[in-house]
Symmetry: C2
Subunit: 162 residues, 2 copies
């Protein structure tokens, strides 16, 4: 299957949003996406942007995307974090995900960064096998922790009242 | 124990580096820290910085630190990521870690961010119990994946030769 990879423009954000929603549904969290298209349009195109996106396109159709941004590792220095890698279901199995993944890794190398990181669900064995086949390490002993929304607000409020 | 929390200055980076090394040793990776003090001085004090640091100090002594930076969640929007939270061993048990953690969460709320995230080792049950006591969720079903250094370079080189 022929396709090209290019950087996303602001006008692509509605398509990016559809892919974000499709990934959330794949991860069994179809209602988790609280952002809107205008959040993507604002945060992705301010200076410096909060993220960048590579799109896989065929003619004018968007097939998939990789959304990423820099992080700072106190072990390896500035690195890239691949937040979302998603290909529309009907286009999977055509090497599009691998091409997007490779493009992000190439960008990290071009920038002189020493690490690319991302997160993967433990039941997504196809993805884990692919990542490991490229030489990546999938760590089983680190947990992701998050506090958000009302819980975050309540904790901070409670502490500030002490 | 009396202490105050303040933002770190460039002149504090040698102290921050010692804490980063101490945390790596605590995590059984004493040789993992590839960055140097000048990486911290450069990346933490460019505009915009790659990270910010809160220090807990008593008189002129640094007791602990929290190092954090923004990320972009495609579910919750811009968030804060707490990369390192560390208190020198001899000062643990005095509420310093909690005060630094609370300060980072307060900053996220002040910025209007809806999430703070971080990573924790699965055997660090004291930390996990503390985080959960604040309302945070520690996810067991997500894995962290990384590709770095020679493996990253080799993969990209191999793919570009195709």
């Amino acid at each position: 299957m022929q396709f090209t990879i290019r950087k996303a423009k602001k006008a692509d954000m509605p398509e990016a949003y559809l892919l974000i929603k499709e990934l959330a549904a794949f991860e069994n969290q179809p209602d988790a996406v609280k952002i809107k298209v205008d959040d993507l349009e604002r945060e992705g195109f301010k200076s410096p942007p909060s993220f960048e996106v590579f799109l896989a396109v065929k003619d004018d159709e968007v097939l998939g995307m990789a959304l990423f941004y820099p992080r700072f590792s106190t072990w390896e220095g500035v690195s890239l974090h691949l937040e979302d890698l998603i290909v529309h279901e009907k286009y999977r199995g055509n090497g599009i995900g691998k091409a997007l993944y490779t493009k992000v890794l190439q960008s990290a190398v071009d920038l002189g960064y020493r690490r690319v990181s991302w997160d993967v669900l433990d039941w997504n064995t196809n993805a884990i096998e692919f990542y490991e086949s490229t030489g990546a390490t999938v760590f089983k002993n680190w947990c992701i922790a998050q506090i958000e929304n009302e819980v975050l607000l309540n904790y901070v409020k409670q502490q500030s009242n002490r």
